[in-house]
Symmetry: C2
Subunit: 206 residues, 2 copies
């Protein structure tokens, strides 16, 4: 994104199309969004979409790479930090994910929905498996600070507690459910609680 054009009115046509596509694709996925919807949302003519991006699929792949990129970046830049403890890594990981999803709450479901066709290159599990974080965990298991746990199950737990509320929020956020404000407050609460809960799980005896 150009430094000059970071608000919507000043944005170039190309940027307006990407912004519209980002919003709609992330919210509804590939098939449910029509090129005409994107053109309308961007306030431009349908023909311009193909002029700039050749096809719907090419445009979609830009958004997919963005979303998967943001998703994987958070985990990548945390798990190999030599200076932080297990607990600190979990705190930062959870806080960063919750902050990102609070801004873009449709991203989690987008990633889950498109993982089958686009997660091959993401290698999220491989990055986790080869991480310094996991070495710290294994060391803590050997020294009996925490109980043995399958690394994949640990990854499921961290991600499940963090991501699920966003991916499933429409189950709970409806006319008889919680409000957007209540949801936001709960997520802030979870930022603090999830690391505490995970630590308790890691010390629980089976």
């Amino acid at each position: 994104m150009s430094l000059k054009n970071n608000n919507k009115t000043d944005a170039t046509t190309e940027e307006k199309i990407v912004e519209a596509a980002r919003k709609l694709f992330t919210e509804k996925g590939f098939d449910a969004v029509k090129t005409r919807d994107i053109a309308d949302e961007a306030g431009i003519n349908l023909a311009l979409l193909n002029y700039y991006f050749r096809s719907k699929k090419k445009l979609f792949e830009i958004i997919t790479k963005e979303n998967f990129g943001h998703f994987i970046l958070i985990i990548s830049e945390i798990v190999n930090d030599k200076k932080t403890s297990i607990r600190q890594k979990i705190e930062i990981l959870v806080a960063n994910y919750i902050d990102m999803f609070s801004i873009n709450p449709d991203m989690p479901l987008f990633v889950l929905s498109h993982a089958k066709h686009y997660a091959q290159e993401m290698k999220i599990r491989e990055k986790f498996m080869d991480s310094y974080f996991l070495k710290q965990v294994q060391k803590a298991i050997i020294s009996e600070e925490i109980k043995p746990i399958d690394p994949t199950n640990l990854l499921f737990n961290i991600m499940g507690l963090t991501i699920f509320p966003f991916a499933g929020r429409h189950i709970f956020q409806n006319k008889n459910g919680i409000t957007k404000e209540q949801f936001t407050a709960l997520m802030q609460d979870r930022k603090k609680m999830i690391p505490i809960w995970i630590e308790a799980m890691l010390k629980a005896k089976s």
Copy 2:
């Protein structure tokens, strides 16, 4: 479903169409599935689909009601049982969900993806909030057996730990990831561990 016709070869045309629709819609959602795909999968002519079900949308709504129905039934029939403890309820709930999702691993992502438009009548949070289970939890909080927790956060935790691995399995199950067999084994492991983990979380001090 008729008692006489519960295998695919003996199934009536109507049942064959529903079975094909169930498989494809649950796996891919509404927009990605074409009526021709359903007709092919069912081994019938395209025109018969409209003859029996009038439209693609009507057929889709049958499958949606099925999936949401199965999803909600498990929680409904467990949380108000006066005879079981908190721990037993969590054990049964987790085991029933994992057993169902092991047979139908696409159901969780289907439910999450379509919750925005179809979860209004489901009232999963309301059922949880009004449940005997939650009364047991509140009693246990007062007697200081467990630490205070927001009920919605407890629901997020139980569902997140149980459902997320299935909803996100394509992130982990790919050519560099875990095999289907490893995944199945992990889920069986989690059936035992999740109740233990949740109990530990409920006793963790903030």
